[in-house]
Amino acid sequence: MGFQGLQTMQTKPNAGLFKRNPPIAGEAEAIERAKNGDADAFSKLYALHKRRVYTLCLRMLGNVSEAEDMTQEAFLHLFRKLGSFRGESAFSTWLHRLTVNLVLMHLRKKGLQLVSLEETINPSEEDAPKRDFGSRDTQLAGSVDRVTLERAVASLPPGYRMVFVLHDVEGFEHNEIATMLECSTGNSKSQLHKARLKLRELLRYPDQLPEAESSREVVQ
């Protein structure tokens, strides 16, 4: 896989992400040692971040095999690019941006035209949220548990899922998502709203949700 043209986004640090990515004990030292080619230090970075990177890939791709491949690619890319990490954002934030960009590049190669958000991220008529979203029929009965939401997210059309995962789960801002997906911030906001409306519909009937591929994974 070529990495020409792949860039880690240089946006202003996101305070929310810093908050959600507190420094990990021993991470800074491992980064510095890994930059100098220390294999054990890189192994430590992998151990610290493999779950977050893998989970992100799995949510974006919805496929275990592809998620593992992209996790591998992300850490290989990290190894090559680590020297350019200057600590302007939390390391995990930087690593996540790198991972998201790799996954998006992978999807573009597969033919998912994320560039043309209006056409391809917008799902078909039957996948789109229904217009009567204010009616009582679509209201949630109460709280939503994590597992059910995970299954509902996995059921979203790919474009909706992408924007929802990036914004509501990963905490990226609309302007960052717009840059990553090469769309307008307005479109990112609109897609997120449609994704939440679609989730609301799906969560009304949790028994009908298919089991998410990620939930079939056994945590080792």
Binding site: R20, A39, F42, S43, Y46, K50, R51, R52, Y54, T55, L56, L58, R59, A67, E68, T71, Q72, F75, L76, F79, F133, G134, S135, R136, T138, Q139, L140, S143, V144, D145, R146, L149, E150, V153, F164, D168, V169, E170, G171, H174, T185, G186, K189, S190, L192, H193, R196, L197, L199, R200, L203, S214, E217, V219, Q220
Partner: protein
């Protein structure tokens, strides 16, 4: 997207509310839209819209819990990485 500064929140219709909603959520920051004083009168008069806002807030808040990972890649991933790094 809609320009929120031009909206009369007290006289807007449900259709207008639907139109403004993505921007209202996006501009809300970490605050809850259901507690936005500008919308208090409208939401009180339109319980279905109030329920919609509450549901979408619930979904967004629960999504934050998904940030903590609960999945792990197979050992093969690290084996492959090590192999490639040695090449």
């Amino acid at each position: 997207m809609s320009d929120l500064s031009k909206i009369d929140f007290n006289s807007m219709t449900v259709a207008e509310f639907e139109q403004y909603l993505p921007e209202l959520f996006a501009s809300g920051g970490s605050g809850r839209l259901s507690e936005d004083p500008r919308l208090a009168r409208f939401l009180a008069a339109n319980p279905d819209c109030a329920a919609l806002v509450r549901d979408l807030e619930t979904i967004a808040e629960t999504a934050k819990n998904l940030f903590v990972p609960d999945q792990e890649p197979s050992d093969e991933v690290w084996t492959n990485i090590e192999k490639k790094l040695k090449q």
